[in-house]
Symmetry: D2
Subunit: 366 residues, 4 copies
């Protein structure tokens, strides 16, 4: 059993010709695909319809081959699109597939393993609170078991589409009356999910991560969570990336954490753990080994980086999110030589305040 | 005779309190100031009034101390403000002053020397054509002589505010009739000025840089020009930065050229020439030696970087200029650890297409 | 034979539930639909993918009912989406259908009639020049005959998707060498198409509309053209709206022209011709009679309106197109009480410089 | 005693040449100026420095003539700049001056009267709460007395720069502990100020306007308040515009309230009260009588106008504030024929939710 990865450039959010060509050429079968992770050239805001367009285009492409309705495609494959290719970031799709049979015995060196799952349906009152943390942690542990990963340090990325169930005014008022106002929004969903990942992976002390810590105690964070939240989603979808001795193939994954948005060395450290060292930018043959580059970050809400003022939050014309994606994409591209990077914003409890996790998948040296 | 440099952070485009404090404390005299180079937090476009605000604030501060009218301040001091502190770039002023007497004999190691001058008043028909190149080249050579710099390789930055004299419809029509349509705009002024610098410094073959080469033959470029153009300016203002054996002090300058917008190694090369080497980001004590960081760049108009598509030119909401400044500022900050960087856009014949020059001033190691 | 019109609000660019409900309820048959004209909430620029999303959603909805491939839908139905619902403009679809048999004899009062057609495939060298004008005029006349419209004053709207065939560098260079540089872009396509409409409708003197007049002689314009241009489109698609005695139903159309972007009276004049007069805003029962509201406009490129400066062209953060759509939508909504308006920008030779055509479809008074 | 008004167009935020010319020509004396109200072409957000530039330019112009320091100018003259000339709105300054001696007896017809004052310094804990309402109401009543205005219906505009005193973390925590969390921000300052105006003018029942009503009970509103709030301002500055029998001159003021952002008839009603009626847009000689046009508005936060969806709040690229200013400016210009309009956004308790007050100053018919 092994993960195979294909990265295709896109000419627009609705362009799935690259994947179609792979399928048509027989390099890949639709039923092998586990996940498609893509950057689309939208604004990443509420009116970014490029994600919907990409989802629809993939549904139209894959549904006939999977013999399901286009709308049902997301029950079969994790589709994770992040809008916003600011600066040098290049629109692309990363297609992750699973092929082959289970190993009879563990390998000596570990290889990339991926499992997907989801939480139970969550109540609006649970989002942003302990129940969401706990349920997220439970699923993370379950997926680790599924991949035969015992050591949490072998988990390097937990990509989550966080639940935001719908609710009505009655629920909102009742929650407020109980002194537990709803946190059933993007912030609450991202924050509690990230804390849940941190708890499962032993990064966060379970006892410390109480309801009061959410969006308050920024010392609590995961270095491996990558959560975006989706209004209307009843349950969180979780994709766990780890290295496992029970998985084969030529891919490995590593991660690190940027302590602030210009923490270039954190990127270099991840590369070093992948065996990719260079005094400056990677050499082209090293760049070619990189398959997936992921980061999550934010413009520091304290308006300072290394003691100096930044203006990302005070620009009424351009969102801080577009700036921080642009900055982190530039750094990743500068160090790796690769512009097909996946940087997503809003990173509550993802790394320290103003920083964020980085993960990379690479081919092992032949 | 030596250059002293002060860098002050600003709380807004009209904030000159940092410079006022230096003057009040006697650390600096107004009549020592040669140039003030600053980044202001505007959009960098035609409606960026932060530069006007900064200029006015400086005029109000310095005029009484120089006993001139606020409007006359720019005849005494070069004021060069670039709007746009996208991403991590931090608004700041760099105040460059000259102090002390001429050396009796040359030093063994060279030090930063700065001279300012201006072209003669240029005709509208000359902008963007050979006469502007030649006149620019003439002044560059003159300023080199003034600094006792014989070797063009000792010149590392030629900051220019390019002339764009006003003209009327008659002149426009006449020029068109002559088959030499006016190029009297920002593009023409920047392009011909940069070519003029390249000619003076021997980077560009004088014979190759004909009128037809302007904005056509991108193989011709200077690696040391940094030109912005200003509508209404009758003559170009030129500030030359070099290392000279006849200048004292503890500052040196070096330059390099990014071949594309993610050329991290070009930045590291400049640092290396300043004696600042590090495997990744500079150590804090190295960062502290950096006094001025300058770059000029553009989003590649071919819509590609290293063969991959970028979307900086096709985003109808955000200007490519804001993106490219954000990207280059991020790289400079990532490598140096310093966010007070001066990145300016539109770089015709400044470095190769899609790339651009980088220059840095540093204190020598004590 | 009569035109029936349905207007449905959309919850997003991919929302076709309103049309689906009409089809499911049997109020409309897919094969009756002539055209779907919609405003989508994009930015209206090159990276506005809301139009593609809407087109795809409609294709997915209608293709099974028309037993064709989703991609073939545009050969059967005119899909005309304009991105940008700035200000009060409300995203919506207007579905125009044809039903019933030809009348045996003309009516005494005329009714809305619609015909669609297309030019022959146009060469890149023809775009923006006389051949495009002539071919556009030819098709307009042909469609008039098809609708039994003799009098050009019965034509009130000619909606065109203008051709922009692809071309290669050789063609570009050859055209330049011939002294007829390619105008094969959006500007050329819109301008020549509008001039063609004006010629066919007798608004423009055929002899005056030479190649030199394109984007030069702004006194030449159509008050009924509404052209957007689409890169890659080999032939222009033309939809003609007229009142005809040979058509039945309860809809009529009228038009007018705004002489500048605040020409409120031009809007009131169109309403008056539809029998909708009111001292200020229409009364709700009058508003209810309005079915379709169309306008085309631009921010005056001379930077003035009624002698006063406007800043729509000098704002580096927001496109003049978004501003002018916002302004004209606000005026239309203010006068009519209806926010489901279709305003599209870039209006070369559509009405006078800085103004533009307005057309409205209304139900006749019962 | 009478008010004289001068309106001058500006070529940029720092352009005070129009006022300078008036002063130089002796048409106006600096010490007659009561207030300068202007629209500047910024973005109207926190990083809109055009207001600071305009303030500085006016200070530099007027200080020598008033023999005070430029910084002290605002103690002598009300300077009220609103950033944002979206769409057709034209940048301009309206200079309001007072001239002549008090009347010996009242006139039969009333004329424009203006008085300026300020609240006492307000505590952070008072902003957004009853004390701010009460103190605002007190000053409004005081200014009415000063103008000899007995009938609140003679007051047509109360322009306020609302206080937002600085506070520290201790104060914030203490307030929260007391169950009265600080509302010391723009929202609280605008809301309580508007409620205070409404109380003073009898528009709002004093008993109903409790602390709980702030930003909750939108049925409470003033139709004459126009408040912007300024961080760091310790006391609110209030300028009251009324018609008074004890004032002379040829100017009168009237007001009305838009019930939503497309309420064109509300604008026509104000004009009618000024004796300016027209079936559509005012005739040029009517337009010429208009001296000042003021409005305050907001994009409806319920995302609907007349039952239809608008997208002003869901556009991640352009602020709802820019849209609503653009819309209301377009309507005002369309009805009046005048683009020098002053529209300002954020209108908590200024007219009904989604609507806002309109006031106009006109010359009486000669």
């Amino acid at each position: 059993m092994r993960i195979i990865a294909h990265r295709v450039a896109t000419a627009g959010p609705g362009d799935v010709s690259g994947l179609a060509a792979l399928l048509d050429a027989g390099e890949l079968r639709a039923d092998e695909i586990l996940a498609v992770i893509g950057k689309t050239e939208g604004n990443g805001g509420v009116n970014d319809f490029t994600r919907e367009l990409a989802t629809r285009a993939l549904g139209d492409l894959l549904a006939p081959r999977l013999e399901c309705a286009p709308e049902a495609i997301e029950e079969r494959i994790v589709l994770s699109f992040s809008g916003g290719t600011e600066g040098v970031a290049s629109p692309h799709l990363l297609i992750l597939s699973r092929r082959g049979a289970a190993l009879a015995a563990p390998r000596t060196s570990k290889r990339l393993a991926i499992a997907t799952g989801h939480t139970r349906a969550l109540e609006p009152s649970e989002i942003g609170y302990r129940p969401m943390m706990e349920e997220t942690a439970r699923v993370v542990r379950e997926l680790m078991r599924e991949l035969a990963v015992d050591d949490p340090s072998d988990v390097h990325l937990v990509q989550i589409k966080g639940a935001i169930p719908g609710y009505d005014e009655t629920q909102r008022v009742a929650a407020e009356a109980e002194g537990r106002p709803l946190r059933c929004d993007m912030v609450g969903s991202r924050a509690a999910s990230a804390l849940g990942v941190g708890i499962a992976l032993g990064e966060i002390d379970d006892a410390a991560a109480g309801d009061d810590a959410v969006c308050r105690d920024w010392s609590l964070f995961s270095t491996r969570a990558s959560v975006s939240a989706k209004p209307g989603l009843p349950r969180s979808e979780i994709t766990l990336f780890a290295n496992s001795a029970w998985w084969d193939g030529d891919l490995v994954i590593e991660h690190g954490v940027m302590r602030d948005i210009i923490d270039l060395d954190a990127i270099r450290d991840v590369l070093a753990r992948l065996g990719l060292t260079a005094p400056g930018q990677l050499a082209p043959e090293q760049t070619a080994r990189l398959v997936g580059i992921f980061a999550k970050s934010d413009a520091d809400p304290r308006h300072r980086i290394r003691g100096r003022r930044h203006t990302m939050w005070t620009d009424a014309d351009i969102s801080d999110m577009r700036y921080s994606r642009c900055v982190v994409s530039a750094l990743l591209a500068g160090v790796t030589g690769e512009t097909a990077v996946y940087v997503s914003t809003r990173a509550e409890h993802h790394g320290p305040l103003g920083g964020g996790p980085v993960a990379m998948i690479a081919r092992v040296d032949a």
